[in-house]
């Protein structure tokens, strides 16, 4: 807890020093944030070379725009926003015309036919314990990578990186309504798959009602 508070203070202190031209402070800030930035880029782009390009472009942009930080959000949130924009720029470039599918309406953008939860059970272990094991981490990762891209991107930005709904709509050029629907589809799909894997089968429940 104490360490967390110290870490938050340090990010902001480092950024303020960097704004004043202190390169050592900037380097320290990069070291703190680079695992998250690289992780975000890899989750979006799914290839090491592209993730490296996205990470480097994001930090170069940070040098360029460092004086634009207004302290309206945490340093990490601001940097993750820059990082997501750069990763998405690479994705759009790679996809060319098919990038339209990121913003165009599709059957997945309404609540109609939303899949209902089927396997309902409490998890047998807390998430932080599950995440520590390499073999389960690989399964968790695979589940996300196999999710349809339009749902995966919303889930990564909103739920994993903690961008607000508004920031996610801006990054992905979607409407707020689309973000919310896609987010729910992503959450339900991942919940179903991961609960089948980590849920405790013994007290599994069956919904006793159908929503009409």
């Amino acid at each position: 807890m104490e360490r967390q508070l110290l870490q938050k203070t340090t990010d902001l202190d480092l950024l303020r020093l960097a704004k004043a031209g202190d390169f050592s402070a900037f380097q320290q800030l990069v070291e703190v944030l680079q695992p998250r930035v690289y992780g975000l880029a890899f989750r979006i782009l799914r290839q090491a070379q592209d993730a490296e390009d996205g990470t480097q472009q994001a930090f170069l942009a940070l040098v360029e725009h460092i004086e634009d930080f207004r302290e309206e959000s945490s340093v990490a949130t601001w940097v993750m926003k820059i990082a997501s924009n750069h990763a998405l720029k690479i994705l759009r470039k790679k996809r060319g015309l098919s990038v339209v599918s990121m913003s165009e309406m599709s059957s997945g953008d309404s609540y109609h036919d939303m899949p209902h939860p089927e396997f309902i059970a409490p998890w047998s272990e807390p998430p932080d314990k599950i995440a520590q094991r390499a073999e389960t981490q690989a399964e968790i990762d695979k589940a996300l990578l196999e999710l349809d891209e339009k749902y995966r991107l919303v889930f990564i930005l909103r739920d994993v990186e903690g961008l607000s709904v508004r920031e996610t709509t801006e990054a992905l050029e979607l409407t707020e309504s689309n973000v919310k629907v896609r987010l729910l589809r992503a959450r339900l799909a991942l919940r179903e798959r991961l609960t089948k894997r980590f849920g405790d089968a013994a007290p599994a429940m069956v919904p006793d009602h159908k929503h009409s």
Binding site: F23, S24, L60, P117, P127, R187, M205, H211
Partner: protein, 94 residues
Amino acid sequence: MTCEEQLKALNGYVDGAQITELCDEFAQHLAGCDPCQVVVDNIRQTISLYRAGEPYPMPIEFQDRMKHALKAKWEQKFGTSAGQTLGGQSISGP
């Protein structure tokens, strides 16, 4: 309450909307529906799981390459040597 309204309320609840902010009908439903409560817990655990993991270590060679690129960019922007110290004091350890 329609299915769409239920699902919208569920999404909002996962995002941290307090039970008092939800419509009475959904709040009552959630209070008396264990499966729905477990689904909400499962979704929150799913999100925590992805936030907890950092499955992609950054290659060391790339870290070195990026350091050089950032130093060059810094010098280009600030026009000074990038060998400054933190707040005027050395930050490197003994």
